[in-house]
């Protein structure tokens, strides 16, 4: 009997030890695939970062740090050379070499049925040259300064294991094998993924032996699971729960200003003497011109927005007023650009100057299920615009419907978000550059803004290998476009995680929720 009791106590102690070594996390967005090259989606990438490594990793501020490559440099205008990390092994024991990198680059464009191919990152590369097992060179078609940045998006696979691996094989865990800090143990689609620590990891060892990564998409249920103690850690804390969680002694929060800008896109497509689809005069008759083509009107609309009220009241402090795409401390931030000040009187004067002393009518469109509080933000902006005489109707729609119509340029003004990578060229090229399909510019330029000066600066930056000089060109282009009020920035969202007290987390500006960033708090 005594023995039995002792045995039970030991077993219990062992059990609680195992529990202490297990981290249960709940994330708000479903992971759609374990294949790191199938679907370019931030939740998928976060999970991929737990299993795989990149040549160039990124730290919490999205700065480039050595990953599977220890150093890299441009050896010629069209050649990048990467030195690879020695003695790295995949989870199955295979050694990591330059062959694996070459294989990965070749696989990127060849993943069948991919809705968002990673082939865009291999496209600039003309030829891959293996110099020796730990040195690899990428020869690009043109001088290409962004190659290391692109490599922060490419997770490296094992040639031997993944030669004929399909996306289904990854999802079935059979070949979910990388060099990363965690091994995948099991995967239940849309429900949970279980990980075990990779004790042979080359980098800093994660604090937890086991990770249970659950998907709880309902906001209230995710918070409740944390409060009930079923999970230790959640992401995407809903703003409505923020005040309560801050007061709760059992809970700790981790937050950082992110890289997702919420902004308004404006109709630049219709000419100065054309009607914009959702703009009329005050009697509801066609205006005969597009007021948004006048920079004074655009500036007035921007000045009319009280960003402080939106971020403090509506967002419960979970956002920062912004005048540009990236927050301070990130590569692409331009110090010279300030968040526009709230000045309704000045806005009215500008409107009168532009020939609209009595304003006009406009409809502001936006999604109502995509960004934090998106439906309420457009309502607030609508009221603020109405206050300066631009009578605003507001329409929120489900994302699937909204984004299709916005993409066709059907709206006069619309709210949308942009989660940027840390380089300023990213929003510049996609949102502010003139729509130019053969260059791949303006793919998300839904307002069809076009400014030759911006295009000229962007073009010269794209082949500029001198980094400070390139940053200067990108910064000038961003400033030119934003001083011209190409879009109206509102705020940058804050990324917030919540955890039981006793845990600590290194918040990431890229929104990624990864187990290696969580550890027991120092007592």
């Amino acid at each position: 009997m005594r023995k039995l009791f002792l045995g039970a106590t030991v077993a219990l102690a062992a059990l609680s030890h195992v529990q202490a070594q297990t981290l249960t996390m709940a994330v708000g967005a479903p992971i759609t695939s374990l294949d790191p090259h199938y679907h370019q989606l931030s939740p998928n990438n976060a999970v991929a970062d737990m299993t795989y490594d990149r040549l160039v990793n990124t730290d919490g501020k999205s700065r480039q740090i050595p990953g599977l490559a220890t150093e890299w440099r441009a050896t010629a205008p069209t050649t990048w050379e990467f030195k690879l990390r020695p003695d790295v092994r995949f989870h199955n024991g295979n050694a990591f070499t330059a062959e694996d990198v070459a294989f990965t680059i070749a696989r990127l464009p060849n993943v069948p049925n991919s809705p968002t191919s990673f082939g865009i990152y291999s496209r600039p590369i003309a030829r891959v040259e293996i110099v020796d097992p730990l040195t690899i060179r990428f020869h690009t078609h043109q001088p290409y300064p962004l190659l290391p940045l692109d490599m922060t998006n490419v997770r490296i696979l094992d040639k031997e294991t993944h030669e004929n691996a399909s996306t289904e094989d990854f999802n079935a865990v059979r070949v979910a094998v990388g060099t990363g800090p965690f091994r995948v143990l099991s995967h239940r689609n849309g429900d949970r993924i279980e990980f075990a620590r990779n004790d042979a990891y080359w980098g800093p060892k994660p604090a937890f032996e086991r990770v249970n990564y659950r998907m709880i998409t309902n906001d209230a249920a995710r918070t409740a699971a944390l409060l009930a103690g079923d999970v230790d850690f959640i992401d995407q804390v809903p703003t409505t729960d923020l005040a309560n969680l801050r007061r709760d002694a059992r809970i700790a929060l981790s937050e950082v200003v992110g890289t997702r800008l919420i902004f308004l896109g404006l109709d630049h497509q219709r000419g100065p003497n054309e009607n914009s689809p959702f703009i009329t005069d005050n009697d509801g008759k066609p205006l005969g011109r597009n007021p948004l083509k006048d920079v004074r009107v655009r500036r007035a609309l921007s000045m009319a927005i009280d960003r402080g009220t939106i971020t403090e009241r509506l967002m419960e402090g979970a956002a920062t007023p912004a005048g540009q795409f990236l927050p301070p401390g990130v590569t692409g931030h331009v110090p010279a650009i300030q968040a526009p000040a709230y000045d309704p009187e000045g806005a009215k004067r500008l409107l009168a100057e532009a020939g609209y002393p009595n304003g006009f009518r406009i409809q502001l469109n936006g999604p109502n299920d995509r960004y934090i509080n998106d439906g309420r933000i457009i309502q607030a902006v609508g009221q603020m615009w109405t206050r300066i005489g631009v009578r605003t109707a507001v329409e929120g729609q489900t994302w699937a419907v909204f984004v299709n119509r916005a993409g066709k340029g059907e709206y006069s003004s619309h709210l949308i978000g942009w989660g940027s990578n840390p380089d300023g060229s990213h929003p510049l090229r996609n949102i502010l550059a003139t729509v130019t399909p053969d260059r791949g510019w303006g793919a998300s330029n839904r307002g069809r803004y076009s400014n030759p000066e911006v295009d000229r600066l962007l073009l010269s930056s794209l082949t500029e290998l001198d980094e400070p000089k390139r940053q200067g060109l990108v910064g000038d282009a961003l400033r030119t476009a934003l001083e011209d009020v190409a879009v109206i920035p509102i705020h940058i969202q804050t990324n917030i995680w919540a955890m039981r007290r006793g845990l600590a987390h290194d918040a990431r500006i890229d929104e990624a929720t990864r187990a290696q960033d969580v550890r027991p708090a120092q007592p």
Binding site: N189, T217, N218, A224, A225, A228, V401, V403
Partner: protein, 323 residues
């Protein structure tokens, strides 16, 4: 009988064909999934490639025809999002939803029938009044709110039950079931109760009104006059007669519980088909939406057929051929 079955099968095939056309056109009208799935890094060339890769560059009728050809060979397409066969995805999620739906129906009958019977036999008693008032609550409280309240009380405040998710599972014939483990049952308790609440009320009300109506019938008086024990009168003669509406409604409710338990599944993070379909609609994952709705239509057809067959067992006056 066989003519009847054959006719039902042909009807079923036509309904499913119509369904596929409606869903196909409906999803097409909402918009372009590539616009939703595409990454912000993608440029126009990549967009064109994705559209071609998913077969969305062809005219709608051509897409539909190729879908139909594949469907006739049992292939309902691959999910745009998961890159797995749509039917496989649905099959993976089905056990979770099925066990939840059956647990809810089981609760509904187990609780609803006796309470309804009691309320029908003693319509003026205090107990009956409490039961009927309770059933109004069961009808009118929104599932979403009740679900969250259950979590707040039983998981967050009292800590008796796990708040969300599915518990431990046991694999039987390649499918994972959680109702065979204690942990699984603990996880299932709240979502099943939440789903069952409405159905319990429904069964109570149907049973009660059935009992009250039947008790006044001549055959009941006759049975009593013949000297049958009250238990036999109620247990056999009355019971059999009130079961017809109960079976009909239970059958249809079972169908809709399986198909549309979306709210409960998302509140409790229950990894079932309801969550799959709502996620798929959000990203316009057409193959999954079409495959799901087709399976649901098929399920309803089968349930209706079973209900019709049950009628003829319960009530000899119902003739299948006469329909």
């Amino acid at each position: 009988m066989s003519v009847y079955l054959l006719r039902r099968l042909i009807q079923a095939a036509l309904v499913m064909l119509a369904m596929s056309v409606i869903v196909f056109i409906g999803v097409y009208a909402i918009g372009d999934p590539v616009e939703i799935l595409i990454s912000p890094d993608a440029d126009q060339a990549e967009r064109a490639r994705a559209i071609a890769a998913l077969g969305l560059d062809k005219p709608l009728w051509q897409q539909y025809l190729s879908f139909l050809t594949n469907a006739l060979q049992g292939d309902l397409g691959r999910s745009f999002v998961f890159n797995e066969p749509a039917l496989k995805l649905i099959g993976q999620r089905a056990p979770a939803t099925l066990e939840l739906a059956f647990a809810a129906m089981f609760l509904a009958i187990l609780v609803g029938l006796p309470l309804g019977l009691y309320a029908g036999l003693r319509p003026n008693g205090a107990g009956a009044k409490v039961i009927m008032a309770g059933s109004i609550l069961g009808f009118s409280l929104p599932t979403f709110w009740v679900g969250l309240m259950l979590i707040m009380v039983f998981a967050v405040q009292l800590g008796w039950l796990p708040s969300t998710g599915r518990g431990e599972t046991v694999e039987i014939m390649g499918l994972r079931w959680s109702f065979l483990t204690l942990d699984g049952l603990a996880h299932m308790a709240m979502p099943a109760l939440n789903l069952a609440l409405f159905k319990i009320s429904l069964v109570i009300r149907l049973t009660r009104s059935g009992v009250r109506e039947t008790m006044l019938m001549d055959f009941v008086k006759f049975a009593r006059a013949k000297g049958l024990s009250p238990n036999r009168v109620i247990g056999v003669h009355v019971f059999k007669n009130i079961l017809i509406p109960v079976v009909t409604v239970t059958g249809l409710e079972l169908g809709s519980t399986i198909a549309f338990s979306v709210v409960t599944e998302s509140v409790f993070a229950w990894p079932g088909m309801g969550k799959l379909i709502i996620d798929s609609i959000n990203v316009l994952d057409r193959p999954v939406i079409v495959a799901y709705l087709m399976s649901i239509v098929l399920m309803f057809i089968i349930i209706n057929l079973v209900v019709d067959l049950l009628y003829s067992v319960l009530d000899p006056r119902v003739r299948l051929e006469s329909k």
